[in-house]
Amino acid sequence: MTLLTRQRQLAGYWFILPCLTVTTLFFIVPLFMTVWMSFNHWPLLGHPEFSGFSNYVDLLQDSSFWASLWFTVKYTLVVTPAIFILAFALALLVHRGVRFVGFFRTAFFLPVVIGMTAASLLWTWMFNDQVGIFSAILMDLHLIDEPVQWLAETNSALGSIVVMVLWKAAGFTMVILLVGMQAIPQDLYEAANLDGAGRWQQIRYITIPMMRRTFALALIMSVIGSFLAFEQFYVMTRGGPFNSTITVVHWIYRASFTYFKLGYGAAMSVVLLLILLALSVLQMYLLREDHD
């Protein structure tokens, strides 16, 4: 090995050292600490104590945790197809470069860059029964007689939040789908056109089959995003009514900082982490399979 190559090797290490240090310190170390903490009774105030698997045993019996997990799954199952269908429709509308399409794309995408907290606060206000716009419009159209408490019932609260998330996230999935759509060779459509295939047939037989990989990608990203949902529920329903809209991340936050049980929260985090890892593996599997 020449001196020059050794110097270059060393330079390489120097270049990556800062980001490796930061990642190690603030990500890898906390990751191992999460696992370690989950084996301890770790009160927010006071001293931690090793407790073996007792947090996990408690977790198995904690119906509230399982309820929050089930609710998160339910939310994911509702919101993912909804986003997907809307985003696909939007992508079909704007995938060709017609006049003003840039404006439409921008309009559909703009909510994505707004923070989830700001968006949730904004929609909480619009859903408010007294000062909210939705009830007011429906009242003025004489469709309802009394203002609706959108966030008061479990199902209507879930529905309202799904509408908000659709508004907030559809543009993101739309762009992912647009990329896939534009990767389809144009001559396929031209050939279909010559064969006299209508627009719907083209979508059915060209667009959809060609985009399978993109679909998988969009779906899995949406599933992961939904599984980690927190702000929209924390802000819009605070977990109510009847504690029926608490997501897993919300529950971890509560166990750790309302119940002051950091160790228990860490055990839940480990469970969440395993689920997310499984989803990521699934993502890689789905995306790889299509290469064949």
């Binding site: 270059r8 270049f15 930061v22 170390v29 707004i114 990608l217 950091l262 997310l276």
Partner: protein, 301 residues
């Protein structure tokens, strides 16, 4: 790099459809229907933002009216003035959020440029392994490591400091950013560098003078994502900041929404929400090409 360039939301002007001869009327109908649907949808997507801004500019009493007014009787900055006096004053929280975002953006830019350059241009044992290690943190939700981060920051005396929160945000941004920057450097032809090496250019100087201008677009993308990520984040700020003077904008807005014994001041809320949306919307509209580029690259990773 990816085929993202023509995905930019601005698109060239073309007719909706190639007009098959003799079907002008039908074509017109389709055209009208298309634009009606798209316009209605676009207005629906823009409505909440516009409605919030409009309400923010109403006099405070009208913003609180039940049922709401559809159009203000006059425009007023009253809500913004109330907001300026809320608790420590909105300026304080704007500064907190802005300085944390600024620190996050600069730290992310520097670390990911160095790292991206290192991973792209140098060969050394363990390179791919370390790269995978950093990238694999993308698969782990940051939500699951907040408890230890709380303990860790406390031990480092970074609890309740803007620097601490900015460091945490930087860490969350790094895997994506390093990935982006490595790709950006990979796209630069080696010949440029080789010429510079022959001129006796040292690595750091080369990075600064030769490479940096060439990876500008990637860097803009990285900075944009770092900004959005830190400006909008709630959960980590909620956990890692308990000193009320250090609250970020989202945390402060959330507290304002909780209201006191009096009802929530809705006009003030909308003024705050408008201020929180404004920089995001402006940056996006100015730099959307870079943003979409990063989004696509990150997704197709």
């Amino acid at each position: 790099m990816t085929n993202s360039v023509h995905i930019a939301l601005e698109a060239p002007v073309l007719p909706v459809d190639a007009v098959p001869s003799g079907k002008v009327l039908r074509h017109r109908l389709v055209n009208t229907a298309y634009y009606t649907v798209c316009t209605v949808l676009a207005l629906m997507f823009l409505f909440p933002i516009a409605w919030s801004c409009l309400t923010a500019l109403e006099p405070a009493s009208e913003a609180m009216a039940s049922p709401p007014h559809y159009w203000p009787s006059r425009f007023s900055l009253e809500n913004f003035i109330n907001l300026a006096q809320y608790s420590q004053g909105i300026g304080h929280y704007l500064w907190n959020s802005a300085s944390i975002a600024l620190m996050t953006v600069s730290a992310t830019a520097v670390l990911s440029t160095l790292g991206g350059y290192g991973f792209s241009r140098f060969r050394f044992p363990g390179r791919d392994l370390i790269f995978m290690l950093i990238l694999s943190t993308l698969m782990i939700p940051f939500q699951s490591i907040l408890n230890p981060l709380f303990i860790l920051l406390r031990a480092m005396h970074l609890q309740d400091t803007k620097v601490g929160l900015a460091l945490v945000y930087t860490t969350f941004q790094l895997p994506f950013s390093v990935f982006m920057m490595r790709n950006a450097f990979d796209a630069v032809p080696r010949e440029i560098e080789e010429a510079a090496v022959l001129d006796g250019c040292r690595p750091l100087t080369m990075l600064r003078l030769v490479m940096l201008p060439l990876v500008g677009p990637g860097l803009v993308t990285v900075c944009l994502f770092a900004f959005f990520g830190s400006w909008n984040e709630l959960l980590a700020a909620l956990i890692l900041i308990s000193d009320a003077r250090q609250f970020t904008l989202p945390v402060m807005l959330l507290n304002a929404q909780s209201g006191q014994l009096g009802a929530v001041n809705w006009g003030l809320m909308q003024a705050g929400i408008t201020l929180s949306i404004l920089p995001c919307a402006a940056l996006f509209l100015l730099l959307q090409r870079y943003y979409i580029h990063g989004l696509v690259a990150g997704a197709v990773k």
